[in-house]
Structures are given as structure tokens and as C-alpha cells.
Symmetry: C2
Subunit: 461 residues, 2 copies
């Protein structure tokens, strides 16, 4: 019997995101079950694409992996007959996002009009995500036509909006994936718990998940958190403030603890980055809640992050250009911890495992409509995603967090599906930063007038 | 065969609201089908109760109506074995509402923290409606115990919140009623249409209903509205601005037309009073959209309204005290146009008619959860409410109007059912008037410290 990976076609759209895709490619090469696979790398940026392609070829030869790589700028060539399409593409890239932010920030919207309650993450297109939504839908349409049996594993943000949108308007089997839930293990580590005795469950929406169940050795894990808050948090924060070098290091920040005390469940991963404006009015407020950099989504933290991405990119370039440098020095041959290739293996080789995925609710979380994507645990095997029963968030989280976040999702999808300038303006009429109708109009106009937004301006007349 | 009204017991809770209840009592007395009924008037204000009782007795003798009246301050006595309980009670009355408004207005919340997008109506308790919600629930509990087969017809605001709440947590058969939809006929009159050729339907939530269907003589009625806007609106507004003496005269105001152009359906009745802050930032803005008084919910319009109520009350007192004055001079013996007694008759005497009612959605409007009260047309007869299919609002109304209004309803109910100071604070974290957390905290504290709010302060610790 051959490997389940034999002749399996996997395509990665947006493969030029080198910092992310090099790690994913290593994951593929390490999988015994995926040996013999053909991986199509697709991107519209030829330079980045070539870099990733060269990396993959050389890495495969270094570790003797039997995976065939192809690079193409032709999306249909990549998608045709694929069993898996992994989408990590960000339309127009980070620089575009920053332009949008800057244009609307100048009109009085700190961190841009896309940053709102429970979505302060700095590269998560929602109301202004026209190009990103259009790209994801067009990829799904290509899959419908050229690889109708393929699974679309979408890691591109906004995972919440895109999973909901694609599930509503396309026939493609799709799963939304994010790594944010892994941050939970930082709590386990800080509480000095034995991971093998931990039982935990998280649910909600992507970037808005909550620790709905937490047992340790059969006991209530929340009691351990309460004890930590009472006895150790202050000390932890003092040391953390003085020593942390990572703006994303906020899983146990004052913001996270405050959200827990306020909403009655612990926020996990990117959830901590959200919240109402209470945590985000300005840099000073952000620092109070998120530490010395004001968290990843302050002007400081985000600059550090984009610099870090650029630095990583240079590292990859340097290693690939210096042909003698072993790439396993850059990225050791170990699983990245990302779920995407594990999921690919689970489906392709029928390996049953539990994951944290984004799928349509269909009754999993009471109080949330069926046709809204939730982020929940689910089991995946050769049959695909198997829904399991889920511990839902409490009422406080449901009403005060999930409902407003869901409303913004509905507004973002509505603006994309029935575009009008009014649909953009309404977004701002509910924004606490709005002081007048003319301010809102100016922000929308400034955004639509940006170079690169010509099509958007035409569509949102 | 005797009258269906023979020995029928109808109780009116909050009957001391004389301006409203005198008209309703006349409606009862005019109904042939309700002759022989016993009407229990209940209020905690003995003076007002006595006034209404004396009015009813004398009016009955003037028009020779066979209706028996009882006045009581004992709610259980009123409710016991009733076939219909009509609730029009406003806990603590208008003065309390104004105190709440003033206390929070002083903290920077123009028109009070209870006024928010799509609920600018000035006596519609939501987030701060603790006493009003508690009163309605306790009435329903009395019905469960002392008149389990009774219909509760609730005309007390907030009809949207109360209908949803009572339907969710009690077993009482309840219908929420409002007269706002009648304003539609002002459009018909202004467009000089023959009412007999009009076919119209409105749906949404209470105070947020939209003209979802409008035919005139088989043709599209919206074309007539469009024509009116194009050819007559300007002229109408000039005359209206110069001559209108009623702050509620806003069915064809610039606000209504703007909402229609923005959302694609015409707002009906109290819906026009809502909207985002675009229409309400301040008195100047309100005047621009609602005419010389800034609409009923500006500081000017509302003062006129409360003065009018006081004046009407004095009129009723004067007539009742002057025993020689015929009460039919004060209120002519004609139906008031309110639905409540017609509905009573429909159920008691099996008279099938169509009404505009508030009932749980249960699939009537797609995109709205089943357990949320919608305001829709329905047929009522001896069997009670019969659900009929409904033309739902369009997507723009659904997403941009009904979803945010529904969220505020959920927050208000959540605050009542799981009270905490945080539940009140969260309300303000999404308020465009909020500039800081401390401003929000001060507003909540000021409200909870008001005399009369001792119990509320204890509950919302």
C-alpha cells in the first residue's frame, strides 16, 4: 500500500507569505502520510514565490522528503484537481492595510475605522475588506469549478467573516483555522500545571474565544486561576512589565484578568487583544492593560511586529541565497504547532484527531444563529469535520461580546454583498469615536480616494 | 343567548393613567359584545383611581352601558379570574423617568443613557427599566397564579422588551400592543389616496416597524411616495414647519424621508422617532430633521407632551368634578381607534379581525431569532392569535436597524435577569456619547444614588 499522500495535490494560495508558509511547508515535508504529495505554491508576487519555492526544494533535499513542489502565478493551475486548497492570501498586503488605517486615523479614528469593539486586531479586514472578501470568494469559485471535491482550509483573516461568508454563499467544504487558542498553554505553564492533567475547552467566534471548561486533575481549574490572581498576579505583572520583549505576550495581562472578572470566563489568545474601547482609547490606556508596548495592536506593538516580519523575511532570504547554509538551521525539522497540515493529514490519511476549528454554528452555541461561523472544538478524520457537543460561553459573554461582534460581522458581509456608501457610513454611526456625520463622511471619502481603491470607490458609490 | 360579555371579567392594571384609560373604558362601554362585563380598575394611586372610576360610572349611565366597574388598589383582587388583564402601568411614573434622564444627562448623556440608537422615545424604559420590568413580571406571575387562562394584553412600554421577556420567562398568553402603526394613514391622507384601495403591511420590532408592502389600486405604492418626495415634499415641509402645532407630527418629516432613502423602506409611526444619533446629536440637529420642536423626544417636544398630558388630566378632573357636565362632551362616544378593546372583543366574542401585534417571532422574520418579539400583522379570533405570513423588512433594515435594536433589548433583559453594575456599564461602553470609563461609571453611580433607586442600587451592586 502506498502513502496516502501519493499524488495528493495540495495548493497553497498566498504562498509568498514566506514567514508563515516556510513553516507550513516543513510541516508537510515532515509528515510520513504526506510523502509523495505534490504541493503547488501560488502567489502573484513572483519574487516572494520564488524564494519560498527555492526554500522548499532545498529543505526537502536536506531532510530527504519525498514532496514535489511547483510554483505558479496561475491560480487555476494551482487549484485544479487539488484535494486541499490552503488559503493564506492577504489581498494587497500589509502596506495597503496601513494606508487604510492612516487615512481614517487622520479623521479622528485612532487605529483606523476597521478597529472596533472585539476586533482591535491590526490586520483583520472587516468593513473595509472588499478586496480581501472578493479574493476569498473568487478562490472558492475556482474551487467550485476546478476542484469541487477539495477542502478549503482558510487561514487568511478575517477567519470569522470569511468562514461565515464562504459557508453561506459557496458550495465549497471549508474550515477556518487560527492558532490563537494555543495561547491557553501559557496559562497552564504559568500556573505550573501538568499539561497531561488538563482538560480544557474554548468556544466563541474566531479571535473571541473563551475558556468555557477548565478541569485540572478532575478539579475546577478556575479555582487555580482565582488563586493565581489573588496571590501571584501582582508579582507576575511586575516582572512581566520589566522583562517582556514580545508585544503579543498578553495572555495573563491585566486586560485578560479584567475581562475574566468582568465577563466571568477567561479570554483566550487573540480574544485578549479585543474588548471595548475601555482597553484601547489611546496608547496610554493600552499600556495600562497590555504592558510596555501597549499590546500587539498599539502603534508601538504593531510596528514591532511588522519589523519582526520584515526581519524574518530577510533571514529567510539570507539563508536561501547563501546556498551553503543548512535551512534546518533556520527552521528546525519539527512540527510548527499550526493545525493546518495536521488537519490535511487527518482528512487525507484518516487520522482522527481533535482540533479547534471555525465552522457554521448550526445549533452548537445556543443564542447564535445557525448560519454564523463559531470557533469550537471538533473532530476531524477521513470523513471530514465531525461536530461534537460544545460547552457554550456564559450569558455575559454571549450578550455583551458575541452579539456585538456578530453584528459587526453582519455589517461587514452586508457591505460586501450589497455595497453602498451608506453601508460604510452606518458602520461609523455606531462608533464611539464618531463626533459628527461629517467626520464619518470624511473618513469614508478619504478611504475611498486612496490610490488602489479605485474599484472599491466605484462599487461603494 | 346572552352577550359574550356577560360576567366577563376585564382588569386594567395602571388604570389611573386617566388620559389613556378613559378612552379605553369608553371603547368597552361602546361594545355590544362586552355588555354585562365587569371591569376592575386597579392602580396604586388612589386619587387617580377614584377619578377614573367616577368617570366610568357616570359615562356608563350617560350612554346606558351595561358595564360594571370596580376600583381596587389590590392587584390580586383585580386579576383573580379575569379573562383579560390589560397592563398599562408605568412603574414610578413619568417624574421618575425624568429624574433618571436628568441625573445621567448631567454626566454628558444628552436625553439620558436610556436613549440610544433606535430607541430615542422618551418614556421607553430599557437598560434602566428595573422597576418597570419587575412590575410587568410580577403582574404576569399573579396571572399565572390567579387567572391562568387570562390573556395579558400589554400596552405598557417598553412593548418590545416586555413582550420578549414575558414570553420567555412566563407561561402567560400575552400580546403586546402599540398604536404607532396607525400613523401610516397620515401618509395615505397626505398622498390623497383612497383608503379603500390601499393594501399595506408593516413589520419589524415595536417602534421599529417599516412599510414592507404598499400597493395602491394594485400598483406599487412606493412609486407614489417617490413622486411625492420629488414633487411635493419641499412644499409640504415649508408649510409644515410654519404651521404644525404637534411635535408628534413627523410621519412625513425630513427624518422619515431620509430614513427611507437610506434604508430603502419607509419608517412608520414611532420608528421615525428613532434612528442613529445622526438625527439626534442635539436640539439643533433634531430640529433639522423633525421640525420646529425637534420632534416629540427633544427637550422642547417632550415638555410640550408632558404639559399636554397634565392639561388633559386637569380637563378630566374638571369634568368629573362638575357633575352636571356631560362626559360625552369630553370624550365623544366613538371608538378611540386603539386596538386593545377590539382585540378583547375578537377573543371574547370570536370576532375575526386583523391586527398589528407584538408576538414571538418563531420564524416570521428570517434572520431574527425565534424568541424575540416582532411587531407584525396577525389575525385574532376566539382561538387567540393566529400567525399569518409576513413580508419581512429588507436586508438593510434587518442588519443596520433591527440587529442593533435587538442587541440593546438583549442587554436590557440581561441586566434585569442577571443584574450587576457591569451589565449597566457595558451598555455605555458602546455609547457614542461616552468619552471615558469614568464618565460611564459616574453616570451609573449618579443614577443608582437617586432617591427611589435604593432597591435598584442594592440589586445592581
Amino acid at each position: 500500500m502506498g502513502s496516502p499522500g501519493k499524488s495528493l495535490k495540495i495548493s497553497i494560495i498566498g504562498a509568498g507569505s514566506a514567514v508563515w508558509s516556510t513553516r507550513i511547508l516543513v510541516d508537510i515535508m515532515l509528515k510520513k502520510n504526506l510523502q509523495g504529495a505534490k504541493v503547488y505554491l501560488m502567489d502573484i508576487d513572483e519574487d516572494r514565490l520564488k524564494l519560498v519555492y527555492l526554500f522548499a526544494k532545498r529543505y526537502a533535499s536536506e531532510i530527504h522528503a519525498d514532496v514535489e513542489f511547483h510554483a505558479t502565478t496561475d491560480r487555476i493551475e494551482a487549484i485544479r484537481d487539488s484535494a486541499f486548497v490552503i488559503n493564506s492570501a492577504m489581498a494587497k498586503g500589509h502596506r495597503y492595510y496601513e494606508m487604510m488605517r492612516e487615512a481614517t486615523e487622520r479623521k479622528g479614528y485612532y487605529r483606523g475605522i476597521n478597529s472596533v469593539e472585539w476586533n482591535m486586531v491590526s490586520d483583520y479586514h472587516t468593513i473595509w475588506g472588499y478586496y480581501q472578501f472578493k479574493l476569498a470568494v473568487s478562490i472558492a469559485r475556482d474551487i467550485e469549478e476546478y476542484a469541487p471535491d477539495a477542502w478549503l482550509i482558510n487561514v487568511a483573516n478575517p477567519v470569522f467573516e470569511l468562514t461565515t461568508l464562504l459557508s453561506r454563499i459557496t458550495k465549497v467544504k471549508n474550515i477556518g483555522i487560527c492558532h490563537g487558542h494555543m495561547e491557553f498553554w501559557n496559562i497552564v505553564r504559568e500556573l505550573r500545571l501538568d499539561p497531561s492533567k488538563v482538560e480544557a475547552e474554548m468556544s466563541g467566534f474566531n479571535h473571541v474565544i473563551w475558556l468555557t471548561r477548565f478541569k485540572y486533575d478532575g478539579l475546577d481549574g478556575y479555582e487555580l486561576i482565582d488563586k493565581w490572581i489573588k496571590e501571584e498576579a501582582e508579582k507576575y505583572w511586575r516582572k512581566w512589565w520589566a522583562t517582556t520583549s514580545n508585544p503579543f505576550d498578553i495572555q495573563l495581562s491585566p486586560a485578560a484578568v479584567d475581562m475574566y472578572l468582568k465577563y466571568g470566563m477567561f479570554p483566550i489568545g487573540d480574544t485578549v487583544r479585543g474588548g471595548t474601547w475601555k482597553y484601547h482609547w489611546n496608547l496610554e490606556t493600552k499600556k495600562k492593560w497590555y504592558g510596555p508596548y501597549g499590546g500587539p495592536d498599539s502603534e508601538v506593538g504593531w510596528a514591532l511586529y511588522t519589523t519582526y516580519l520584515a526581519y524574518q523575511m530577510e533571514m529567510i532570504k539570507g539563508f536561501v541565497q547563501a546556498e551553503s547554509a543548512p535551512l534546518t538551521m533556520l527552521i528546525p525539522p519539527k512540527p510548527s504547532g499550526e493545525q493546518v497540515i495536521d488537519i490535511t493529514e487527518s482528512i487525507a490519511a484518516d487520522v482522527l484527531r481533535k482540533y479547534q476549528v471555525n465552522i457554521l454554528n448550526n445549533g452548537l452555541i445556543p443564542g447564535i444563529p445557525d448560519n454564523v461561523a463559531v470557533e469550537v472544538p471538533a473532530v476531524i478524520d477521513g470523513q471530514g469535520v465531525r461536530r461534537i457537543s460544545v460547552t457554550p460561553p456564559n450569558n455575559r459573554v454571549l450578550k455583551h461580546v458575541l452579539l456585538p461582534r456578530m453584528m459587526r460581522m453582519e455589517w461587514a458581509l452586508h457591505a460586501f454583498l450589497e455595497p453602498s456608501k451608506d453601508a460604510l457610513l452606518e458602520w461609523l454611526m455606531y462608533d464611539v469615536r464618531t463626533r459628527s456625520v461629517s467626520q464619518a463622511e470624511e473618513a469614508i471619502d478619504a478611504m475611498l480616494k486612496l490610490p488602489g481603491n479605485e474599484e472599491m470607490a466605484e462599487v461603494f458609490k
